[in-house]
């Protein structure tokens, strides 16, 4: 799986980016979520994969016994997931508000207030 998971995560990245490059607001949300998911999985995959052994100390032991998964990437991942959730929720609401205000789901039509002018 060490070999295959990166492939999957890579495709998630690619799909996420592809959707973000879309001009449809809703697809952009999907893209953001996919990208976030891919980022989290990246962290997980890169942090090392251990089958089965959780980072929880057995009730008969006082210290963790190998093999156990590296808890650090997991902890980072948890934090990142939560942060990502907050930001994604905000993004979703934002996009909904944009849609409501501009009455358009086409990002290109938002260009009317072009920033460079």
């Amino acid at each position: 799986m060490e070999t295959l998971l990166p492939l999957m995560v890579g495709s998630l990245f690619a799909a996420g980016l592809y959707f973000i490059l879309h001009r449809h607001l809703f697809k952009v949300i999907l893209g953001l979520i996919l990208f976030g998911l891919a980022t989290n999985l990246f962290l997980f995959v890169v942090g090392g994969l251990t089958r089965g052994g959780t980072a929880i100390i057995n009730k008969h032991e006082k210290v963790a016994v190998e093999p156990y998964a590296d808890p650090v990437p997991q902890a980072l991942l948890l934090t990142a997931i939560v942060i990502g959730f907050g930001i994604q929720a905000f993004a979703i609401v934002l996009i909904r508000r944009v849609y409501q205000t501009f009455k358009s789901n086409n990002l290109d039509e938002l260009r009317k207030e072009n920033e460079a002018h």
């Binding site: 891919a38 508000r97 207030e113």
Partner: protein, 509 residues
């Protein structure tokens, strides 16, 4: 005061302030009072911290008493304390401005707590000594920016925030992946330990460090709006009310640059032969593109927004030259720019408060109608353009001198040309907003807006406050120059930093 507490105050004060604001959610006046208290306390805390690092060079504490590479480190050196202090000053100024310069609805909808939490994020970024923790604080800062930028949900704000959110989300993703890469390759998240590890020439993963650095280069590059990653900035910074954009524009990109400088002097130092020329090119292009963008604008706020980018180029320039003087120049420039940029935004806000527009075409005659404001603007603008002996000059001089000494002639030439165009833009604003007579057709419409002179005067207060600081660091440049040099020295000679962090004695029991 113990160093532990000093390091924590910049985090805890805004947090508790924000909490109090949340508790008084229904009472805007109380919120304002709490926020004001927190601002003053933050300023005091930062000042104390700076004083402490001036004496001790580096102070650090271990969160939760866990020893250094295992627990999270908070660490302050002159650089971080300096940035914090500058942030605290503009925080106070923006707060004062918002009392009269921001509509009451926005104030009721969480402006104060958001601003405070944003400041907490800034403190976190400046003080943390841990790579992942840095990411976390950056996210705190970002989400506060999101919320503040969109606060009010006007059309422009929404569109700007959408771009801001999307691009910064991508950048955060890259940062997070970068953190993962660094952790896997080097097995640590503590900046000080990483700094030691990457300086071991035998470390097996050293060749991959520059690959890892790309994630941070692009990630923090986006956050600090360097070329070609800056697009979100001109798209969003001009959209919210001034009390919001002034703080964000003044501080946040500089925090990005702060991190940039911190990481690329502390950790990503194994491949400077590749990075420095790259940074030099990027900084030159950043300056140029920013200034060209500004030259093309005809809106007060948009001009200022594009100039942020161009000045980011200057800050990056010091890093690209990578000598003590150059980095000191960058640091000086950062501090100067935080104050001046905020002040210019605030001034644009005062102008708009009276005339209800930011358009250069519609404005005019402010020179006659608000002479004090004109003076305040002129000094700030010239400071930005680097006219001696105002604050901008010193940074420019240090950078130019360092660049010429180090042989980066093209970069210096670019920076000087850019500074000329900056002068052009600033005087363009002066010509159009202050000198030019108002168009007759618009005159009636504009003056019909009722003017509360008392309110207007109160808006001058923060501008004057900032101007005092600007004049101080211009006319009495020596303290800041010394501080910058100390800071730069600390950045280039990290032994003190790593030693303080890794042998911190407040560890377990």
């Amino acid at each position: 005061m113990p160093s532990d507490l000093l390091l924590l105050l910049p985090l805890l004060i805004p947090l508790y302030g924000a909490l109090l604001c949340l508790m008084f959610w229904q009472k805007e006046k109380w919120q304002a009072a709490m926020a004001g208290l927190a601002q003053v306390a933050w300023l005091a805390g930062s000042a104390f911290l700076l004083q402490r690092v001036w004496v001790q060079d580096v102070v650090s504490t271990q969160i939760g008493n866990w020893p250094a590479p295992y627990g999270i480190t908070l660490v302050a050196d002159v650089f971080s304390a300096l940035l914090l202090l500058a942030g605290a000053v503009i925080g106070l100024a923006v707060y004062l401005f918002s009392l009269q310069g921001l509509d009451v609805t926005r104030r009721r909808f969480g402006y104060y707590p958001l601003l405070l939490l944003l400041q907490m994020g800034v403190s976190g970024v400046c003080l943390t000594g841990d790579l992942f923790n840095l990411y976390v604080w950056f996210e705190v800062l970002l989400i506060c920016c999101f919320a503040l930028l969109s606060l009010g949900s006007t059309k422009g704000q929404l569109e700007g925030t959408l771009k801001y959110v999307t691009i910064n989300f991508l950048a955060s993703g890259l940062l997070l992946t970068g953190v993962g890469v660094v952790y896997s390759l080097f097995g640590s998240l503590n900046l000080a330990e990483l700094a030691v590890l990457v300086r071991q020439p035998t470390h097996p993963n050293l060749p991959l460090l520059s690959m890892a650095s790309i994630f941070f280069l692009v990630g923090f590059g986006v956050k600090s709006a360097i070329f070609p990653l800056f697009f979100w900035l001109p798209a969003s910074y001009h959209t919210p009310p001034i009390a919001i954009s002034a703080f964000i524009a003044g501080l946040i990109t500089k925090v990005g640059i702060y991190t940039f400088i911190r990481l690329f002097t502390l950790i990503f130092v194994s491949d400077l032969g590749f990075l420095l020329p790259l940074l030099a090119i990027l900084s030159g292009l950043t300056m140029l593109v920013g200034v060209i963008g500004a030259a093309a604008q005809t809106d007060f706020k948009k001009i200022l927004s594009f100039h942020i980018i161009s000045q980011i180029g200057y800050m990056l320039m010091g890093l690209a030259i990578y000598t003590p003087l150059a980095i000191a120049g960058s640091i000086f420039f950062i501090v100067h720019n935080i104050l001046v940029k905020t002040n210019l935004f605030l001034i644009s806000g005062v102008v708009a408060e009276r005339y209800r527009t930011f358009s250069l075409k519609k404005l005019g005659d402010v020179y006659l109608e608000q002479p004090i404001l004109a003076l305040l603007f002129l000094v700030s603008a010239l400071s930005l353009a680097g006219t001696p002996p105002l604050s901008g000059f010193w940074g420019k001089l240090m950078l130019a001198k360092a660049g010429l000494t180090a042989g980066n002639y093209i970069l210096v030439a670019t920076s000087l040309c850019v500074s000329l165009v900056t002068l052009f833009s600033m005087t363009k604003i002066w010509n159009e907003v202050f000198w030019k007579p108002k168009a007759q057709s618009l005159e009636k419409k504009l003056t019909r807006a009722p003017v509360n002179l008392f309110r207007l005067r109160q808006l001058y207060l923060p501008v004057i406050l900032l101007l005092v600081f600007i004049l101080f660091i211009g006319v009495c440049a020596r303290p800041l120059v010394q501080l910058s040099e100390r800071a730069a020295n600390g950045l280039l000679h990290i032994e003190n930093y790593t030693e303080t962090v890794l042998t911190n004695n407040n560890t377990r029991k």
